[in-house]
Amino acid sequence: MLYRLDLYRRLIGVQMRSQLQYRTAFLLDTLTTASQVVTAFLTLALILQRFDNVGGWKLPEVAFLYGMVEMAFGSMDMLFSGFDPDNFSLQVQRGLLDQLMLRPVDITLQVLGSEFIVRRIGRIAQGAAVFALGLALLPIQWTPLKLVYLPVVFASLVCFFGGLFIIGATITFWTVESIEAVNIFTYGGTEMMAYPMSIYPDWMRRFFTYIVPAIFLNYYPALYILGKPDPLGLPAFAPFLAPVAGFSVLLVAALFWQFGLRHYQSTGT
């Protein structure tokens, strides 16, 4: 276990060093990503000003949710860059998996260590800024439980998004090329989760409750922390399902990934 951690640290260290070599490009990239997030949020803020609220959520409340989801996605995108479906399918076509399979260490660990995109820090920072703005404007009644639960929700979101990336990457074993459908799934999913789920049509909300349990990772924990009533009438423990939902998605993803690897070993594509 220690060996694995150390190996991971080394693989990541290598990535960081080579990315930081090009300092200007790195800074520009980071700024671009960051400004995209800000623009998106400003657009939302303008819309909110006209309509006062989104599905009963005021601007600072949306900022809280939006900031949290953005931070979590950004962190995931940095940690799980190796599984980014677009990049992954390209790397596989270039023989990445063959290369990793020839080394006497875990393949999953190596894929995780094969890419670590430091400039995602921009997205995380902007998410954090929006989140802080929300916190500052909101009269949240903090309790010890809420304080402990917030990082748990964050970690669960990271697991959840990581699971989506892994599933997306695994699909490309069969499709060879990365496909837009996978991107709609991962990036579209995030976008959607950054807003209160109550604004979406019923069928969609049901899908994100019972099939992909996204609603337990953003909407319900936010309701709980912000002290808002539940308009959807799920049981009172619904806000606390975040770790269960996040972990099970990651677990399903891991199993699918193992299945994909076996498929790869028998087809070579």
Partner: protein, 329 residues
């Protein structure tokens, strides 16, 4: 001696879908039976003893790389048995690959953005090579492969020949029991090829490393391999020594004779006169027809000879004929 590689009736069939790529094509492909079966490796058996240096030859698409991928644990065979170095490669991947090395000529195993030396150090950690052994091997290989000039250069900026040398070094740093080299000299100039051949020979002789290599360059084989295997259409056509191959399929030899005078009639029974240019005559004769010494004594009885030489048919011609005429079937 127990063989280090034992392959029994090995097969690898690929299903190639006839559908379009992309999501729709893939999903449809899962349900319809629209595919073509490619028999990349179709029932191959052989054994390799420790310390052998074997050439694995065959025309494009013969199934060489597919065999090597199974031997290195990258692919699971469709059927047949595979025991290498006491293990079943695909079943015990991690334990198995710790003791082998592999270079797939068209791809690098090194980190693209890292200086060569950093890559090598990372591999030292991954293969858990003791520092002393690492230093010793690196020093040795550095000299043999002349790596010093580009040890600090990132892999992406290396020339093809430099990259191949770095890759060879990386594949052997952990003292593997055997190495698989898939076209290790592809695309290299004569000097680079020669250096790599010397290196392979050195590792085989001095470290006792078993080597199985594929190549399209027959001078690789002539300089390195005692034993060759020839495959085509996934089947083993020949397994034996290079000289045996030459003897069986060598075609005709040529004797070039410089006579002292311009004789009018230089013909010999059963031997073809392939060319004549003044006093120089070229005879062509098959192995079955007569030996070189018989022909020479027959000539020297009748004529005065100044000089002579025997030309063996070259191996390249031999193998080309085997591929083209499918002589071994």
């Amino acid at each position: 001696m127990t063989p280090i590689i034992r392959v029994t009736n090995l097969r690898k069939y690929f299903r190639v879908s006839l559908r379009a790529k992309g999501l729709v094509g893939t999903v449809r492909g899962l349900f319809t039976g629209d595919y073509r079966l490619v028999r990349a490796v179709d029932g191959i058996s052989f054994e390799v003893q420790p310390g052998e240096l074997v050439g694995y030859l065959g025309p494009n698409g013969a199934g060489k790389s597919t065999t090597l991928k199974m031997l290195t644990g990258l692919l699971v065979p469709t059927s047949g048995e595979l025991h290498v170095n006491g293990r079943v490669p695909w079943r015990e991947r991690k334990a198995y690959v710790a003791h082998i090395g592999a270079v797939f000529g068209n791809r690098s195993t090194l980190w693209w953005d890292l200086p060569v030396v950093d890559s090598l150090e990372l591999l030292q950690y991954i293969y858990r090579v003791p520092p002393a052994a690492f230093r010793r091997n690196l020093d040795e290989f550095r000299e043999l492969l002349e790596l010093d000039a580009f040890l600090d250069t990132p892999v992406r900026s290396l020339s093809l020949g430099q990259r191949m040398r770095a890759d060879l070094c990386a594949a052997l740093l952990h003292n593997p029991d055997l190495v698989f080299l898939d076209e290790p000299t592809i695309g290299l100039d004569v000097v680079a090829k020669e250096r790599i051949r010397q290196f392979i020979l050195h590792v085989n002789r001095e470290h006792g490393t078993t080597v199985l290599l594929t190549t399209h360059d027959l001078s690789d084989v002539e300089k390195l391999c005692e034993r060759v295997m020839i495959i085509d259409h996934g089947q083993l056509l020949y397994d034996g020594t290079l000289s045996g191959l030459r003897e069986r399929f060598g075609g005709k030899r040529e004797l070039v004779v410089d006579f002292a005078e311009d004789y009018a009639d230089v013909s010999v029974d059963g031997v073809e006169v392939a060319g004549r240019e003044g006093p120089r005559v070229v005879y062509r004769f098959g192995r079955e027809d007569m030996s070189a010494s018989q022909l020479i004594s027959a000539l020297s009885e009748r004529f005065r000879i100044e000089d002579l030489s025997v030309r063996e048919p070259d191996i390249e011609d031999t193998v080309r004929r085997i591929y083209e005429e499918r002589l071994l079937e």
